[in-house]
Symmetry: C2
Subunit: 382 residues, 2 copies
C-alpha cells in the first residue's frame, strides 16, 4: 500500500456496535489539507451528509471522522446536534475548527449517535493516530463488508494516492451503502480536486449502482495533504481514477451474497444516454441477475430487459457476446451451449450487447442476485 | 364460479411442455363476440402480442387461443409465421376468419412454437370444448403459478363476469408475467369494453408491477358474448373492476417465493403522480421487501426509498402506519415494537405513508422478497 505523506489513521471500538468491534475511525492530515466531496442525491440526507456538504467548502480540512453502526439519518434536528457535538468535542482536543473535520456515518437509519459512549473514547482515538493504522481504519468503517477495501497508486513522480472504502452490495444495502475516502499528497487546488473527483466518480462509483438506489449516507471525500508537486497531470489523473475504479470493483465483488461480477457493455447506440439506459435496465434486472447466478443462458431475459426501456430497436439487430464469444445474432444461437455455459461459471463475466444505431457506448458493473442477498438483508439489524 | 353465457372452454397437453402437462387452452364464444385488449409496452413484443393488437380491432371475436411453455417472443419473422399458421389451422377447423381469434403465449423467450406437436392436437382441443372446462383452461395457462387464478361476479341483473389469469411473481417473472382473460355476457359495444378494460387495468394490474417491468407477453383480453342487457352500468362497471382486482391480488399472493402481500398506500401528496412515484419506490425496493420478509421494523429503509425519488419533503413530516397502527411520527416510534412486529407476521400487511403536502393518494400491491424467489428464477428453464 502506498501511503501519501502527511496522513495518520486511527480506529477504536467505541461501543456503538458490539463490544470490541472497531466502529470509529479517524483520518488526520498533519498540515493544512484541502478537500472536496460527492454526496448522495437522496432527499433523506443523513446528518453527516448535511454537515459535510458545508464543511468541504471550508478552505482547510484537517480530518475525517467516520463511525459505523449508526447512520445518523432520519434523526432530525437531534441528529444534527449530536453530529455537531461530536465534531465539536474532537475539534477541541485537536485544537481545530469544527469545519475542518469532515463527518461520515454508516449503519442503521433512525437511531441517534450514542454520544455518551463515543465521546469518552476520543482521546484514545487521537492517541492511536499513526501512518500505519490505515487497515484498522478500513475495518472500523465496514458494515456487511466481508473484506476491507483499499487501493493505492504511486505515480512515477512519487505522488501517492490511497483510497479506502466500505460498501458491500449492489442494491443500496443496509441504508448506508457506500463511503470512500481518497487521500493524496499531491499539491492541487480545491478546483483541481473537485474536477478530478467528479470525473473519477462518474467513471467508477456511478457505474456500480444497480437499481439507481442511493442511500441516505453515500459519501466520497477526497483530501490532499499538498506535499508533492504534480508535473504529469495526465498520469496523476489516470492513477486517481484507477484508485476509485479499484474500490468500486471491490464493492461489487463484495456484493451482498454475490457470486460473480458482471460487466455489462452496451455499444452501437445513437447517444451515450441511450447506452446507459439499456445497460442499467439489463444490469438492474433481478431476472437477468438470477439467471447469471443460476448459470442459465436465458438470453430472452436480456432482450426483455432491453425492451422495457421503451427505446426503439429491432430485436433482430441486437448481438450478444459472452466474454467476447458470439452468443446471439439475429435471434439465433452463435455458439455451442456448453462452450458458452463455461463462461458463466467464471467469477467475472463480460456481457456485451451490440446495437446498430450509432457509435456510442456505456459500461457498468453489477453482480448476480443470490439467496444469500435475501438472507443478509432480511436479518440485518436483528 | 359464475360462467357467462355463450362461452366454452378447453385444454389439452399438446406436448410443448412436459408430457401430460396441460399447455394449450381455448376459449370459444358461441356467437359473435366483441373484444378489446391491453398489452405490454415492452419494445420486444411477442409474436402473439403483435398479432393480437391487430385482431382486437376486428369487429367480431370468436375465440382466444393460449399456450404456455413457449413465449414466442424474440422469435423474429419465423415466430410471427408460426403464430399465424397456428391461428390459421384453428380457424379452418372452426370455420372462422383468423382475425376472429386472439392469440396469447407465455413461457421461455427465444424458442419457436413446436407446431409439429401442437397442430395435430387441435381437433381434440375443439372436441373438449365445454362451458364447464374453465378450470382446465386456467391450469393450461399456468407457468410457475402455484394455483389457478379465477374470479367471477354476477350483478343483480344477472350479468356474469369471469376472469381467468396466470402470473406468479412481482418482478416480471420468467419473461411472460401476466395473462388475463375477462369474459362477460353483458351487451356492450367495443367502445364500452375498451373504456371498462382500460379503467379496470389501471385500478388492478397496473398497481401490482413492482419494478416497472413489463414482460414481452403481458396481455389482458376482454371478450363479451353480448347476451344480456345492462341497465345498471355503475354496478356492472364496479363488478368488472372487482374481477380484475381479484386476479391482480392473486398474482401478488402467488408472487414467486412470496410469503406476504403488502399494500403500500401513500397519502397527502400534491399530485397523484407524486403519490404513485413514492409508492412505487417503496414497493419496488428490494431492501424494504426483504425487511418485510425478515419481519424487521426497519423504517429507515422506507424513508430511504421515499428519498431516492428526489421529491422534496421533510423526513419529519412523514407518518407511517402498519395495518392502521401508528408506527412513526416526527421520526419517532409511536407504538410498542412487539405490538407492531405482530402485524408483520400476518400474511397481509398494509403500510400507510402520510405526507402533509396535499390531498392526493395512490396505492399498490407488492409482496416480500425471499430466498425462494431466487431459487425459482435461478433454476427456471434448466
Amino acid at each position: 500500500m502506498y501511503i501519501p505523506e502527511g496522513f495518520m489513521f486511527s480506529a477504536v471500538a467505541s461501543g456503538i456496535r458490539k463490544k470490541d468491534r472497531l466502529d470509529l475511525g479517524l483520518i488526520f492530515c498533519q498540515d493544512k489539507g484541502i478537500s472536496w466531496g460527492v454526496f448522495t442525491k437522496n432527499t433523506v440526507k443523513a446528518a453527516p451528509v448535511i454537515l459535510g456538504k458545508g464543511h468541504i467548502k471550508n478552505p482547510v480540512t484537517r480530518a475525517i471522522l467516520v463511525n459505523s453502526g449508526v447512520a445518523n439519518a432520519a434523526t432530525g434536528i437531534e441528529g444534527i446536534k449530536r453530529a455537531e457535538e461530536l465534531l465539536g468535542a474532537l475539534s477541541q482536543i485537536l485544537s481545530l475548527r469544527k469545519e475542518e473535520i469532515l463527518p461520515a456515518s454508516t449503519g442503521v437509519i433512525g437511531e441517534q449517535l450514542p454520544l455518551e459512549r463515543i465521546l469518552p473514547r476520543l482521546p484514545e482515538l487521537i492517541n492511536n493516530l499513526s501512518p500505519s493504522h490505515y487497515l484498522a481504519f478500513a475495518h472500523a468503517i465496514m458494515t456487511t463488508d466481508t473484506f476491507p477495501k483499499l487501493s493505492s497508486r504511486k505515480t512515477k513522480e512519487g505522488i501517492s494516492i490511497l483510497g479506502i472504502a466500505k460498501g458491500a452490495g449492489m442494491i443500496a444495502p443496509n441504508m448506508a451503502t457506500m463511503l470512500a475516502f481518497i487521500l493524496t499528497d499531491g499539491i492541487l487546488s480545491k478546483e483541481d480536486l473537485k474536477r478530478l473527483l467528479q470525473k473519477g466518480v462518474e467513471e467508477s462509483f456511478n457505474r456500480i449502482t444497480v437499481d439507481g438506489d442511493m442511500s441516505t449516507n453515500d459519501t466520497v471525500y477526497a483530501l490532499a495533504s499538498r506535499k508533492k508537486h504534480i508535473e504529469d497531470w495526465k498520469e496523476f489523473s489516470h492513477a486517481f481514477t484507477e484508485v476509485l475504479q479499484d474500490l468500486a470493483y471491490m464493492i461489487v465483488k463484495d456484493g451482498e451474497g454475490a457470486s460473480k461480477v458482471i460487466k455489462v457493455v452496451v455499444k452501437g447506440t445513437r447517444t451515450k444516454e441511450e447506452a446507459e439506459l439499456l445497460a442499467r435496465a439489463v444490469a438492474e434486472s433481478p431476472l437477468v441477475k438470477t439467471a447469471f447466478y443460476g448459470e442459465d443462458l436465458n438470453w430472452g431475459r436480456i432482450f426483455s430487459a432491453l425492451g422495457k426501456t421503451g427505446l426503439p430497436f429491432q430485436p433482430e439487430e441486437v448481438e450478444l457476446f459472452l466474454n467476447g464469444l458470439p452468443w446471439i445474432k439475429e435471434l439465433t444461437l452463435q455458439n455451442d451451449e456448453e462452450v458458452l455455459k463455461k463462461e458463466l461459471f467464471k467469477g467475472e463475466v463480460e456481457l456485451s450487447i451490440k446495437l446498430k444505431q450509432g457509435k456510442q457506448s456505456y459500461w457498468l458493473l453489477t453482480c448476480d442476485l443470490t439467496e444469500e442477498y435475501i438472507k443478509i438483508n432480511a436479518s440485518y439489524r436483528s
